[in-house]
């Protein structure tokens, strides 16, 4: 996605919560955040060393650029990126449809 702080830069993060979810944040100004409509919450896998939603808050879906599916280089890191949510980062309450 395009960085909300620097539009010239693209950053790569994991989607932790979608609109309507309530999650517990790490180091954000509010302890619990309900992701607003049309936004998502992204976090880097390396908590504490990542410039992600815990720094700039939920990001608008319009900033999404693409989904990363594979690592191509270096060759010893060839792999398919697994879409997996770390269990400790699950949303607290999902909006019921």
């Amino acid at each position: 996605l395009r960085s909300p702080r620097n539009p010239e830069q693209k950053i790569i993060k994991r989607v932790i919560a979608l609109e309507g979810d309530i999650i517990k944040t790490i180091g954000y100004k509010k302890k619990y955040v309900k992701v607003p409509h049309g936004h998502i919450w992204v976090e880097g896998d390396h908590h504490g060393h990542s410039f992600d939603s815990n720094a700039f808050g939920p990001v608008s879906l319009g900033l999404l650029h693409a989904r990363a599916t594979h690592i191509l280089w270096p060759p010893h890191r060839w792999q398919k990126l697994q879409p997996a949510l770390p269990p400790e980062r699950k949303p607290l309450r999902k909006e019921q449809e």
Partner: protein, 166 residues
């Protein structure tokens, strides 16, 4: 006979793909025609006006204060909104309504812009949803082509008092 028809079909397909790619690149990087709807930019842009937009300014990062831009809606990524840039990053903007007695100001955060419609009384803009990330800007409107009696470059903002000079 069949080979002739097949050859023609493939050539037609080839041309379609070529023109499709050129059209896509043109709309993505150069600009296009936009039909505006809604009352939030009156009197500068009325409902159902047709305007020309260009995307070069956003790619070269030269959107300026006072430009009218088309932006992906922060709350609904599938729809576009058309507003005027009142403040760029670092500018001081007035976040309160004109009717409020106490005026509140804030600074536009880095990487964001503050948008307001020209029709201040009937416009949901940054006063409602806050500063908008620059990355959501799709293009800049520079020419109105319909209605013909109002053809031409767009006027400056009727709300000059909203632009706060440092």
């Amino acid at each position: 006979m069949l080979r002739n028809a097949l050859g023609k079909a493939f050539r037609f397909l080839g041309y379609t793909v070529q023109y499709g790619c050129i059209a896509h690149c043109a709309f993505e990087y150069l600009g296009g025609i936009v039909v505006c709807s809604g009352p939030s930019m009156e009197p500068t842009i009325q409902n159902s006006d047709i305007v020309f937009s260009e995307n070069l300014s956003r790619h070269f990062y030269c959107i300026r204060k006072g430009d009218i831009v088309i932006v992906k809606s922060p709350n609904d990524p599938k729809s576009n909104i058309c507003k005027r840039v009142i403040g760029l990053e670092g500018d001081k903007v007035c976040t309160s309504n004109p009717s409020d007695f106490l005026k509140s100001h804030s600074y536009v955060p880095k990487g964001h812009v503050w948008l307001e419609g020209d029709n201040l009384r009937n416009s949901t803009d940054s006063r409602y949803y806050g500063p908008v990330p620059y990355g959501l800007i799709r293009g800049r409107i520079w020419l109105k082509i319909w209605p013909l009696n109002d053809f031409g470059f767009l006027r400056a903002s009727p709300n000059g008092h909203r632009f706060l000079d440092d």
